[in-house]
């Protein structure tokens, strides 16, 4: 029962996904928990036209990082590179460290609550993964910003109230 005595299961406008928390997108413009991975895109610090595609697989914690053209990241020397660290840290800001840990099946234990702690708790190995899929999801993500506005009412959005940010 909710505070006002109505059952969440019987509510049409029940909140299922907490809204993303605000974060600075400059270094890591795209993060998602999808397809059984924490994956995303990290902008190169030195070349504004280059991006890295980084991913960590749920369960096995296998990780990979490469440019979007599949050139392996030079920072991967037996441990997650700076891009992967940044990805995990920004994911923890966006979703909350708990949700990321739950998705990746990481045992946070007690006290660990920031994204900086996440990579230290991963015990996976480097396993190459194709970057193309993630990169194309990023491009699709960006394409939303190019869709035209509409002023015809979208009645379906009554099911999607804007809600306060979690926590």
């Amino acid at each position: 029962m909710d505070a006002d005595g109505t059952r969440w299961e019987h509510r049409s406008a029940a909140r299922v996904v907490p809204p993303a928390r605000p974060r600075n997108l400059a270094r890591v413009p795209f993060v998602e928990l999808a397809d059984g991975r924490l994956q995303g895109v990290v902008s190169s610090g030195s070349d504004i036209r280059r991006v890295y595609v980084s991913s960590i697989t749920a369960g096995t914690h296998a990780y990979h990082c490469s440019t979007n053209n599949n050139r392996p990241c030079g920072g991967l020397r037996g441990s997650p590179c700076g891009h992967l660290q940044a990805l995990a840290a920004e994911a923890a800001v966006q979703y909350g460290a708990d949700r990321v840990a739950r998705y990746l099946q990481i045992d946070l234990g007690d006290g660990a609550s920031s994204g900086a702690d996440l990579p230290g708790r991963l015990h996976g190995r480097h396993e190459p993964a194709p970057a193309a899929l993630v990169f194309s999801r990023f491009l699709r993500h960006l394409a939303y910003l190019e869709l035209p506005d509409t002023t015809e009412p979208i009645a379906e959005l009554h099911w999607f109230p804007a809600t306060g940010a979690a926590g």
């Binding site: 909710d2 505070a3 006002d4 005595g5 109505t6 059952r7 969440w8 299961e9 019987h10 509510r11 049409s12 406008a13 029940a14 909140r15 299922v16 996904v17 809204p19 993303a20 928390r21 605000p22 974060r23 600075n24 997108l25 400059a26 413009p29 928990l33 999808a34 397809d35 059984g36 902008s43 036209r49 991006v51 966006q94 990023f138 491009l139 699709r140 960006l142 394409a143 939303y144 910003l145 190019e146 869709l147 035209p148 506005d149 509409t150 002023t151 015809e152 009412p153 979208i154 009645a155 379906e156 959005l157 009554h158 099911w159 999607f160 109230p161 804007a162 809600t163 306060g164 940010a165």
Partner: protein, 473 residues
């Protein structure tokens, strides 16, 4: 709203509502487990639903569908009939609730006039796309929410991308995008502690209906109106990839016709990392509307299309901001006599009930460690929907709890009425203040929020730069 009106409104559910919702819940339970392997209880629940609509034009298709489902056949025709039967029941619930609300508030509502001829039967746009939607929705129904995993969710990606590119199918696209994002975030659903049973069934059924012939028109009739629009407040809708600001207001038509309650909406696509006050920047192509919200001014509008549903189709270049107008004054002087619009039959669902009301003369009580606020209005309790305070506006639970007057929307969900605040008059630091959802439409006015925004950087600008560099290479 007065205490006696609230007492009338909250005096138990109207007759028949509980029974109708039980029938709906029976179907919804079936969708949890999947319609391909109906247990005896589920089959009985579906048969009860068929009985309930037996005397209506839906009687035959729903009866037929339930028989075939019980025999293990799950095809589009059966799912469409079920979704239709469910929508009819919820439409009846909607009508009973709106009837109760109108009676309690003494609100007059224009009757729905069925358009003289059904809209011309043009072939639906992009039938293969709609077919793709239907087949994904069928897979969901067969599998049941409990069985949904990454693969089934990802299967919608291609169809969705194509849908979004089709302007005539925007409503269906927005709906399916919202549903698939929730399913993705919940995967594997089998491990969820509890399921949003009513909600997902609602979204599924709505999508099934919208994927028959594409989006139906919001109001079949539309005629141009001119006059003065006095905003009451703005209701913000949002999921990961869309934001819609829906302004409720009173329209005083030019020429002296009676004032009407109207809504006008502007929506834009977004991504989930654009949140908070930055949302308004996505709607920046409507500066006259946003300016009137932020500065609390009335609007002079010329020849805007007004739909039968009471929706005014916004065109920023046909409006100009006029003199200052306090929404609380508008509500006190104009709300009681304004004519409310009818609701188009296909849009009748309790979730769409959003009736502007002014509540004052209450005492607000906080409970549950600040998580709930209840207004006591002459001995009658009205719960406040604190979940619906958007991050793009300045309203907070604390302000609501400290308020003496509240402009809001009467909403019904989960078996009860609640008040969604759009604006409050309160006392803060011993001074009277009025705080509105739309106050930050031209940018936040609170220095602390401005600072936090600056720290987080401009998400819209970062993503537009990335899009400009990466999308067209």
């Amino acid at each position: 709203m007065l205490g006696v009106q609230l007492a009338d409104l909250a005096d138990g559910a109207p007759p028949g509502v509980e029974g109708a919702l039980e029938l709906v819940a029976g179907l919804d339970d079936g969708l949890v487990h999947g319609l391909a392997r109906l247990g005896e209880g589920h089959a009985r629940a579906l048969a009860a639903l068929a009985d309930a609509v037996a005397a209506t034009p839906l009687g035959e298709p729903v009866g037929d569908a339930v028989e075939k489902l019980a025999a293990g056949s799950v095809a589009d025709a059966q799912l469409t009939a079920l979704a239709g039967g469910r929508a009819a029941l919820l439409g009846a619930v909607h009508d009973a609730l709106v009837g109760r609300l109108d009676a309690a508030l003494a609100r007059s509502r224009a009757p729905w006039e069925q358009p003289p001829a059904p809209p011309a039967a043009t072939p639906p746009p992009a039938d293969n796309l709609l077919g793709g939607c239907r087949s994904w929705l069928r897979e969901l129904a067969i599998t049941g929410w409990r069985g949904v995993g990454h693969e089934l969710v990802s299967a919608s990606a291609q169809t969705l991308a194509a849908l979004l590119a089709e302007p005539g199918l925007r409503r269906l696209a927005v709906l399916l995008d919202g549903l698939s994002a929730e399913l993705r975030a919940s995967c594997p659903v089998a491990t969820m502690r509890r399921l949003p049973v009513r909600r997902w069934a609602d979204l599924w059924a709505r999508a099934v209906l919208l994927s028959q012939a594409g989006d139906w028109p919001a109001g079949p009739g539309r005629r141009p109106v001119s006059g003065r629009l006095l905003a009451l407040g703005v209701d913000v809708h949002e999921h990961g990839t869309v934001v819609q600001a829906q302004v409720h207001g009173v329209l005083e038509p030019a020429g002296g016709a009676p004032a009407r309650l109207v809504r006008t909406s502007v929506a834009a696509a977004k991504v989930e990392t654009i949140v908070g006050p930055a949302l308004w920047r996505l709607l920046g192509r409507h500066p006259v509307l946003l300016g009137a919200l932020a500065e609390r001014r009335s609007l002079d509008v010329t020849d805007l299309p007004l739909l039968d549903s009471g929706d005014l189709v916004w065109r920023d270049d046909q409006a100009r901001a006029a003199e200052p107008a306090d929404p609380f004054a508008t509500a006190r002087v104009r709300l009681a006599a304004a004519l409310a619009p009818p609701v188009p039959p296909l849009d009748r669902h309790p979730v769409r009930i959003a009736e502007p009301v002014l509540v004052e003369g209450y005492s607000a009580a906080i409970s549950d460690g600040g998580a709930a606020v209840t207004l006591d209005l002459g001995g009658n309790a009205l719960a406040v929907d604190l979940d619906r305070l958007p991050t793009c506006g300045p309203l907070t639970p604390g302000l609501v709890a400290a308020s003496s007057a509240c402009l809001g929307l009467a909403r019904w969900d989960g078996g009860g009425w609640r008040l969604q605040p759009l604006a409050v008059q309160a006392t803060a630091r011993r001074r009277p203040v009025a705080v509105h959802n739309g106050d930050w439409a031209l940018g936040p006015t609170d220095p602390k929020v401005v600072k936090a925004e600056a720290r987080a950087g401009d998400a819209v600008a970062v993503l537009r730069e990335r899009a400009g560099r990466l999308l067209r290479r």
